[in-house]
Symmetry: C2
Subunit: 227 residues, 2 copies
């Protein structure tokens, strides 16, 4: 209604589609933008799928996010990046990010599971041709892996920029899927003598290993100390 | 030659194909079976790609390996598992497994990289219809996540087996890709005042969290203590 304040200009969810509504465990699916963003921002390696000669190809690659847009980069010679350049209307892709949070050990083999958070993005990837957007995207990719790093490194020069392709993928057709919590054993299995529970998993960083040729006086930067 | 002993009945590498020879960083590619097996055996979550209505789909799922065969399981209602049942000649898939071992921070943004080990398998996935192979595959999947667990859980009953589909994928068209080592900066960048080096990454297990309803006297099994 006119004059009624809206909570936000943007809807808080991605509209579900035939492709983003799972055929099973639909209760684990979510279209919440905040959840999707948080899962995407916690990772930096995605699995990018595309179709080549009618067959699927899935490759691991780095990504970064800026608002409702993802960026993926690579050599101008790599297959998906060449294909987005060749295919005029862009390249149909599926970009998936998965975090494994725990092993769920039930008393029954059947109810064994994994606690995880994943995001699946369907869309059309397109080459970034605007030099300014390309440069910004490359900074974003570096900062997505190590926040604060982009400004603490030598920016790409003209030759390096020319050797790098960047593709963008808008967040439009997107779903998250999350499993949390404990075991879901059948009531009649509870008395079985098998241990049951959850083994948490996490990604941990080891001690940074400096290059042998560091310039004299180069200290470990603060953004690495806090990793 | 007749009488000449062969080192093995099986060749030690997967024959490279057009699909498994990368267009870039070909020096990082390997077809060595032992390396491929070791990468596959260290993980349990893969990203499975297939084509649906002409578009790529990439979903995370669990897998297990038995010799030169991989198994993936899921609900009989999930899309890739239904599709292998529907499509008579099987379903063309690409199954990818990736381990991230370290962040490579170079002095130049361009030479930032990731140390990783990945395996990409192309092939035709087929439903496992033989009950014995299906049961063995399900044990394998449980043991692939937690070695020793299959015999310490209640086996699937007839109803659970019927609700579970298993697909198999033979290791034929396979490649590994590995990046290890330190930074590869340009010689003229070595004097720059930016820290450079490698931040190791690893997956760690937290303290197992027992279910609240464990049968009295159920201790943490030895195979979890050694995780």
């Amino acid at each position: 209604m006119q004059g009624t304040p809206q909570p936000s200009d943007q809807p808080a969810v991605y509209p579900p589609t035939d492709r983003t509504v799972p055929t099973r465990s639909a209760d684990r699916a979510s279209y919440d933008k905040e959840l999707v963003h948080s899962i995407l921002d916690e990772g930096y390696v995605c699995h990018l799928g595309f179709v080549r000669d009618g067959a699927p190809v899935v490759l691991p690659t780095l990504y970064g996010r800026s608002g409702e847009r993802l960026y993926v980069h690579g050599s101008t010679g790599s297959r998906p990046l060449r294909m987005t350049g060749l295919a005029d209307p862009g390249l149909a892709v599926c970009l998936t990010v998965t975090h494994v949070d725990g092993l769920v050990l039930a008393r029954s083999a059947f109810h064994h599971s994994i606690n995880y958070r994943s995001v699946v993005v369907h869309g059309i990837a397109r080459q970034v041709t605007d030099p300014e957007e390309k440069r910004t995207a490359l900074d974003l990719l570096v900062d997505h892996v190590v926040p604060g790093r982009a400004t603490d490194s030598r920016p790409a020069n003209r030759k390096e920029l020319a050797a790098t392709s960047v593709i963008r993928l808008d967040l439009g057709e997107v779903s998250a899927k999350v499993r949390t919590g404990g075991v879901n054993d059948e009531p009649e299995d509870l008395a079985l003598p098998h241990w049951a529970g959850v083994v948490p998993l996490r990604r941990t960083y080891g001690t940074p290993l400096p290059d042998g040729d560091l310039a004299p006086g180069t200290a470990l930067p603060h953004y690495l100390e806090s990793l």
